[in-house]
Symmetry: C2
Subunit: 410 residues, 2 copies
């Protein structure tokens, strides 16, 4: 490829299918290996970078699983409502206390859920099956040895590997870390993503617009999606459509784990990103067989994946949901994201463009599916959409009333 200068507009040589593009992404992007130690309260959603083995038994002692009376099970055998067994109540042990004595034959100790089981006892009679008679507890049902006791180590056994490197921490897994007394945990760092808007007409929100200028939309939509999928967006200033400026931004962006350019990946003479990537690395695909979002590029420069997303807001964002999200999650070590799908009936007839797989943004209301798509350049085509339907390459039309599957934008 080399430093070929493209002086005239050229169409894409070959369009890559969605499946092929996803396979290229999967094959070429790997989890980053940088790790960090963080407090467990910040760990949900993060990816474990260490195996977690237990330093203690959980629970750390035999404990009451119910409110009631710790007993010797044998003392309850034969108990009925009409012929209860009477056990002398010798005291009470709350959770957090440690009863030093022993419970002897025909005695019992009041315990709360979570209390240690005192010496001599092998079961707990739940409060519901008892009554009080002076200093005696009447037990109305027998319990077997071990009844209503959580034995030491039943939940987690000391030495056991509880979780493994690479698992994503859910609230429940964070709970397991807490149960083991862990305050800190080693996780993979969140990958950083350079978000680089290009376009001499593009201005940052908050600044005045000159003639022929528009506001930068893509770096905001992409950053929101990047944050939602476990990575840290680093927004760069808008880069003008000049070869040296693009090359410079590419070099600077290489300080991050992944780069996403927006705009500047179309086929015009302004198609500068593809040239810069070809010069400094290699292009894996350029041009997708999808609509909207054809002018999408993936390259590798100095081992860093470089995406070139279309400049059009809806093309950019819908392709980001479909192609960038899997890349981000792979980089972060997060499991594949499966957006929810709902079915509905098409509220109106849609004529498809053949030749490319089409992602039609839609709204869903009361089981009916309405096209939300105006045009790829309109941010409202996606801002006002709940999801999209995929119209296959060979389909010409979706009839009113036809059942369709909507993939939610999430």
């Amino acid at each position: 490829m080399g430093g070929e200068q493209v002086r005239v507009m050229r169409p894409f040589k070959r369009l890559t299918s969605r499946e092929e593009a996803l396979a290229v992404i999967s094959a070429n992007i790997r989890r980053i290996e940088r790790v960090e130690r963080i407090p467990i309260e910040a760990a949900a959603g993060r990816v474990l970078a260490e195996d977690i083995s237990a330093d203690l038994n959980v629970p750390p002692f035999n404990r009451a699983a119910m409110d009631g009376y710790a007993v010797r099970a044998v003392d309850t055998y034969g108990a009925t409502t009409y012929n209860p067994k009477r056990l002398r109540l010798i005291g009470r042990q709350n959770a957090g206390e440690w009863f030093e004595g022993e419970v002897n034959q025909e005695e019992c100790l009041e315990v709360a859920t979570g209390s240690p089981i005192p010496r001599g006892c092998d079961a707990v009679v739940p409060i519901e099956y008892t009554g009080m008679e002076g200093e005696y507890v009447e037990v109305r049902r027998p319990v077997h040895p071990g009844a209503n006791i959580s034995p030491e180590g039943e939940d987690i056994r000391k030495g056991e590997t509880v979780m493994r490197r690479g698992e994503t921490l859910t609230p429940g897994k964070v709970g397991a870390l807490a149960a083991l007394g862990r305050e800190w945990v080693e996780v993979f760092s969140k990958p950083t993503v350079a978000v680089i808007p290009t376009g001499s007409e593009v201005r940052p929100p908050g600044s005045p617009l000159g003639r022929g200028q528009v506001y930068d939309t893509n770096s905001y939509t992409l950053s929101a999606l990047i944050s939602a999928h476990g990575c840290i967006p680093k927004r760069f200033p808008v880069v003008p459509d000049e070869p040296e400026a693009i090359r410079e931004a590419l070099r600077e962006g290489l300080s991050q784990d992944l780069l996403v350019f927006t705009g500047g990946s179309s086929v015009g003479t302004r198609d500068l990103l593809a040239e810069a990537v070809e010069e400094m690395g290699r292009v894996l695909f350029h041009g997708l067989q999808v609509k909207p979002g054809k002018p999408t590029l993936l390259g590798i420069v100095e081992d860093k994946p470089v995406f070139g997303m279309p400049g059009y807001p809806t093309s950019c964002l819908s392709n980001a949901y479909i192609f960038l999200v899997p890349a981000l999650r792979k980089l972060a070590g997060l499991p594949t994201h499966e957006p929810r799908r709902v079915t509905g009936r098409m509220a109106e007839r849609v004529v498809a463009t053949t030749g490319r797989e089409q992602f039609l943004t839609v709204k869903v209301r009361d089981g009916f599916v309405y096209p939300a798509f105006k045009e790829s350049g309109a941010i409202t085509s996606i801002a006002h959409a709940d999801g999209y339907i995929i119209i296959p390459i060979n389909a010409d039309v979706i009839e009113e009333g036809e059942e369709v599957t909507v993939t939610l934008l999430e």
Copy 2:
């Protein structure tokens, strides 16, 4: 109710069904009305507190929707590959530039996607349908007036209300804010949630465990879930099982928008939270017809919802997914969360406890559903689960091979 002192253990008087509990939550918890102004880059996932109306047209000018040549459509009529129309190329206008001249009859101006359409032109001929002949462009297909032009205001019209107060900001909606040039946006504040672990036996992770003590698990699992659903957890120190300590924590917790106690809502003499809530406000329900998680309480004190969650880690967290999440999202103004559901075949026979609706935590592997449940006190019952199945009150057994629906823990 008043300040009734409960001196002996008492069973729950009446268990509330899941549906009824969810209806009580929905009827008694309202969105908080506190608002804040934040930069749009932090706005995804937040709830709009203002209507957004457009101060400008988007796009702000007629612009080229494709790379190609701006023309007068009439000059292209009749063009074919073998009989192209020749138009004189008078220059080039990049995006961000503003061509001051006018394009006359049988002339054209090279434009890139996003370029303003010059005076005199009413269409763009895509690059694909042209060729160069010296200073002439050969047009090989006719275009109609308006072709490949995005007219000013097509996306968003000045003065239009683009989004409304109460909408949740998606990446696409953040993009619409950016397209309008907005740097800041007014959103509802994230509700704050006091997370108050109770139990004299409970110690914070990182500190040594004495005899009969266990680590605080629940305040970590709940905080993770609270963060994931748009609220800010404020973890309180562990409160001992003493009436005045509980009352004091309740009073302090009222500084937040919602309070969640864990532990201390069982029916033992240590059932202090219910008493404190009865004294200072009112109990809406106490005792749920679900397993695990029966000892769950909801009350209102000084207009603040107060949850009492079971002390057992799995009971606490599974009830939090089912009952606390809807409460948090209502408080935050977020839409109802619909966790994903998958179906699978039960890998082994499960015998259910009748009398309560049962949430059985499970793992899903290759379409088979395996029980993950050890017991409610075991954090691994939920830490190692992918989701749960609901076993109805009247079901006794799920047979091996039976199809079940798993609600994912998300």
